[in-house]
Amino acid sequence: MRGLIKTIYIVYLSRYIKQFGHTDPDYTLLYSTKKTSAILISKAVLKTIEDNTISQVNRKKLTELGFLVRDRDSEKKELLSFYDEANRRNRTFNAFLILNLDCNLDCVYCYEGNLKGRLYMTQETADHLVAFIERHYLGIVDEVDIGFYGGEPLLSSGLIKYISKRLNILTAEKGVKYTFGLVTNGTLLTGKMTEELIKYGLESARITIDGPMENHNRFRPFKTGAGTFDLIMQNIKETCGLIGIHIGGAYTIDNYREFPKLLDCLIAEGITPEKVASVKFDPVTKSPFNRSEFRGGCSSINEPWLSEAGLFLREEILKRGFNTPKMSPAACMVEIKNAIAINHDGGILKCPAFMGWEGLEAGNIRTGIKDYKESHGLDLWRNRECADCEYLPMCLGGCRYMKLLRDSRLDGVDCKRQYLDATLETLVKQDLKYSQKIDDDIG
């Protein structure tokens, strides 16, 4: 008899959803910012949710997809403990290792500009670094993923091999996977260099090209003033079949419309979409360490022109068939326990962009990590306004570096509402339009 009794409970729409219009007036596009699920739903079914007359089948389907919840307060609490849960589940140690602050380029907007010099990580510091990783992380993770960073990390290619050789041995002993990537200007990443580094665990590289040749060579020349475009393109041709190549580019309000020409140039050179892991362009960011003659760069994602520029470039990337990151909840490394950056001198940072900022060193590999909760404003997004915001899963307090740039302190959030209000509908529809699964369902 008990088996025949059905439990009827009330369900509610999640607070972390957005409703967008559709060409069929009887339907609404629902998007969950929490699960990134998207559906077309008839307005009649939406009404059954309000009336609590929804069918069992629809209730089950919508609950699984994250659109319905049994208790909106519990859902809010769950979101507010996002990082607790993320840190509990995370089994990877991620670190940027800043091997030097030297470079063979002289980019006009360099955000490390005045910090630069012949500053290199020593082998003694590298030994401490390996010991630090072994002591603090190898017993608790399944994977170690390093991003070698600079300056230009390939000016320290010997140290990359030295650190990787040691980490390969130590991780193998513990059954932990070791891989690494490079954030490089691409001028030294030849096919030969790549083949050599693959033996040590190299899997991917992020290379910046600032649009078409003329613009790129103006913004990212060699120290001699000579252009770097042709050499970088040659190196990408040699390496894109060997490792995952992620192409980035930094645009300004004056030049972003030129960037699609780079995409056409890549294709014309045989660097076709299937050979590239991803393409993503971002605005040039301001920095207190910019060279004095550089004016420009943004300090907020909410600057109005960025919405137009970002959407325009993303469309150009997607329509040519290149991959670009999908909309997704993104956990800032500042709040992830097992994610750090280690400076060339052994200082620990919670984001590489904090380099040179007083009071933002989160410890040292020789003495350990200190409590950075207050100094880095962790948990500031756990407030009523953010908790009730439908964008919370896609923002989680925004970019700490942007907040720092604007106010020189981390005492509040970097709210993305204005930007997401202006862009999310188009971003979601772009993802759906260019998704291989869906080609005919959005309006």
Partner: protein, 39 residues
């Protein structure tokens, strides 16, 4: 790219999403690390 009169179902799943997953944003959303000079 538009579907109008031929929608049959009450709910059309366009993307089932990523469930509980997330990724760690090691390259800041506004591209700060990517936008630095030299890299």
């Amino acid at each position: 790219m538009e579907k109008t009169a031929d929608i049959k179902e009450e709910i059309v799943v366009l993307d089932s999403g990523i469930g509980e997953d997330f990724y760690i944003n090691m390259a800041c959303c506004t591209g700060a690390p990517m936008a630095k000079g030299g890299n």
